[in-house]
């Protein structure tokens, strides 16, 4: 996955992501594609969660999965999550849950609860940073005011780091793939360097839905695991989702 929160020169925030899933889950030698990735694409839907006929939040889901990987609470915040691999992973969390130790939260259910109940960027950030989880994760959160954008790096028990947009330091966007931002990505899976190169080339003055879509369409940011690209504008409550494919030549991850 690749997620990015960026602020333009007027203080408007954009949040976008590629959702990549299905690595090593079967290879279709005829279509040159991952099997599960192919089967997930037709399940991608935009959801408008309503109460009293009014939108509470919107999300992008795979039909049948009720947690949230990508969502927007209009005028308040935007949220995506990226997978964080760790030896102390969710498998242990599930075992603990089965054995009756149930003080941790399932990742997808926490993000759903945050989108349903939190009403501000700060409230969402605190809940995502402080709630004990069953699995490690990266939460990428955007707000509706200048400099409200961060990557929360989570272990199961705690927040390891919160990396925020800082205009003073020249950091007008934060971008996360599937590696801790203070470490180098795996050399075989470096989507961060090309994505940042394209963001830097775009410049803050030109950031928009169109230019972010360009970045997320550049291989290997776009790859054979990419199921969809979502663009979100919190101030207008806008969410657009496009199903993706990556015909050859294209990186398998």
């Amino acid at each position: 996955c690749t997620s990015v929160v960026a602020e333009d020169k007027t203080g408007k925030l954009f949040h976008a992501r590629n959702l990549d899933f299905g690595l090593f889950l079967g290879w279709n030698a005829t279509t040159h594609a991952w099997k599960v990735t192919e089967q997930l694409r037709p399940l991608v839907v935009n959801l408008d969660f309503q109460r009293n006929n009014a939108t509470v939040f919107k999300s992008v889901n795979y039909a049948g999965y009720m947690g949230i990987l990508t969502g927007i609470r209009p005028k308040a915040f935007t949220l995506t999550m990226n997978e964080r691999f760790n030896i102390d992973g969710g498998f242990i969390g599930i075992l603990e849950w089965l054995l009756g130790k149930r003080d941790g939260m399932w990742m997808g259910f926490l993000t759903r609860q945050v989108l349903e109940n939190a009403t501000s960027y700060e409230e969402a950030k605190n809940k995502l940073a402080q709630t004990k989880l069953l699995a490690p994760a990266y939460f990428i959160l955007g707000g509706n005011k200048s400099e409200e954008g961060c990557v929360i790096t989570r272990s199961r028990a705690a927040s390891l780091d919160i990396w925020e947009i800082s205009l003073k330091q020249g950091r007008w966007y934060v971008l996360e793939t599937n590696y801790d931002h203070w470490k180098d990505p795996l050399f075989l899976d470096d989507r961060r360097t090309p994505a940042m190169k394209c963001m830097n080339r775009t410049t803050q003055a030109n950031i928009s839905f169109g230019t972010i879509y360009d970045v997320l369409s550049t291989k290997p940011v776009l790859n054979k695991l990419t199921t969809y690209t979502t663009l979100m504008d919190v101030s207008e409550g806008k969410l657009e989702t496009y199903l993706r494919d990556c015909p050859n030549p294209c990186m398998p991850w």
Partner: protein, 123 residues
């Protein structure tokens, strides 16, 4: 050919929006989820529309599991032990999962597995 081998080789794209061409496969459809109705009912319309696709995905995962465990025991274990997990999930998620399984006509344990896929795959 360079795309097959890391590191990155493609130049930054431009002018790809609005989306079109071979990397664009359409827009995702919209559905309303009514939080005012019972958790068991709120996913019904969506799952009815996507029943065939969801069944195809679950079957694909089962085929994969059966390729590693040809006896079919793994799928049996999922059906037997993952289903009851739904009753331990916080409200309203357990009821929502049961509603999805009913609407899709898929064993509850397999829908639970789909919903905890993230936790399983972080190792």
């Amino acid at each position: 050919v360079g795309q097959y081998v890391p590191p990155y080789t493609e130049e930054c794209r431009s002018g790809t929006y609005p989306p079109s061409g071979p990397t664009f496969k359409g827009q995702a459809p919209w559905y309303k989820i009514n939080l005012d109705i019972s958790p068991r009912q709120r996913w019904h319309q969506l799952i009815s529309d996507k029943k065939a696709e969801l069944n195809s995905l679950i079957q694909g995962i089962k085929d994969l599991a059966n390729a590693f465990f040809p006896s079919g025991k793994l799928v049996e274990l999922v059906d037997k032990y993952m289903g009851p997990l739904a009753d331990t999930l916080p409200f309203p998620f357990g009821d929502e999962i049961k509603g999805i399984a009913e609407a899709a006509d898929i064993p509850l344990g397999e829908i639970v597995l789909f919903n905890v896929f993230y936790e399983l795959f972080t190792v």
